[in-house]
Symmetry: C2
Subunit: 218 residues, 2 copies
Amino acid sequence: MAGDITHAISNRVFELLRAKIVTGELRPNEPLIETDLAQLLDVSRTPIRESLQRLAAIGLIVPRRRGWAVREYTPAEVLGKFEVRIALEGFAAFLAAQRGTDDQLRRCKRIHEDRLTVEPGDEDRRISTNRDFHAAIIDAAGNEQLKEAIYETGRFYLNRPVVRSSTREEMALAHAEHAAIVDALLARDSQRAEREMRAHIRRTFLMFQRLEPGVHLA
Amino acid sequence: MAGDITHAISNRVFELLRAKIVTGELRPNEPLIETDLAQLLDVSRTPIRESLQRLAAIGLIVPRRRGWAVREYTPAEVLGKFEVRIALEGFAAFLAAQRGTDDQLRRCKRIHEDRLTVEPGDEDRRISTNRDFHAAIIDAAGNEQLKEAIYETGRFYLNRPVVRSSTREEMALAHAEHAAIVDALLARDSQRAEREMRAHIRRTFLMFQRLEPGVHLA
DNA sequence: GTGAACAATCTTGTATGCAGAAATGATTTG
DNA sequence: CAAATCATTTCTGCATACAAGATTGTTCAC
């Protein structure tokens, strides 16, 4: 969905509705009444309906017998989404180790080292450098479709859980895992890079999800 | 996008347009004129516009400065899409070996063995048993989100290339690869199952794609 | 008081109207 | 004859209209 040039109102509506869903302002199973939404956002039903189509396409709403409702995700389904991300981003690490340029991999390392200097309290930089690190690896994978697919999984969960501030221990753990990934990348060990990336994502997920018993990540 | 209950016309329009794109009837870069499409399918612009949103969401059309155009995929981009599928379906094999039930894995084996009896000329059964085999593994992975994601990649390319009839040698090769996957699954060797599945998909892709030099699958 | 039949009200699905931006093409000027 | 300017046409983006089906509420029979 890159390069949206037109659809000014429609895009704004889409993002607003998406935000209201992932933040929980529109609750799961809540029926979405077009006229209400139109009034709420002060537009006509047309851009509302177009946005609903897009929200359905990314799985945030589901069709009801009549109209749409916010999709309820069970913990198992959230886990499922995360496993998709594990598959995709792990493979990105695999590809990056295999065919990323030396420059690209050195850039991953540089971002990682830069991140080591972030103060524990500086949440903004902690988050942004983490995003940059993952983005650098995905870039190094050199597959735009894969990048889009990963980005798409992000649209689902990114804003969903509260972004908790992280402890010093948690940061040290993340640093160690990032270091392991960087090491594997520079060694061009694609399998190890994939393994480390999977473990890293799995752990960060487990950090802030309380799973039902019996549901486990691979 | 399961369980579409309403949107009767809209859904029909979506499928018709999708078919016209993947079959090439609507050519890449061809501008999509809403009024023309509406006239062609004998509906108003409204369901056309809603379908265009959905087509954009699955990557078949892209926004232009004005309106939409059929997205042109370069060979490298098609390759990119396939790599996404490799990542997802490989991971499905991984999960299947790890947590599929014995019943589910035996079913994979049974479908595989059943497929061995297919006559070389029987294209319908060759295709359907292959689909069943892959579906059985994806089912055994026990992740509905992953299944949906794999299915989604299919919406893009399935109808695209001509489904070539396959030689006796090609079938023997596919059988051998399927056997290797089944073997790894029953041995509960998840890493090997993933590796074999990746190799299998990679090879089937290479079979009917002529790649530009310099572009290689991982 | 409970349940069925029916009426009134919502809400959607589709069609159409309208203003403005973009593309097209004609006309003028150097 | 080429390029630029301006008028015309086309097409989109958003708003609104309308009918059919779904939902809700009410009345009436038992």
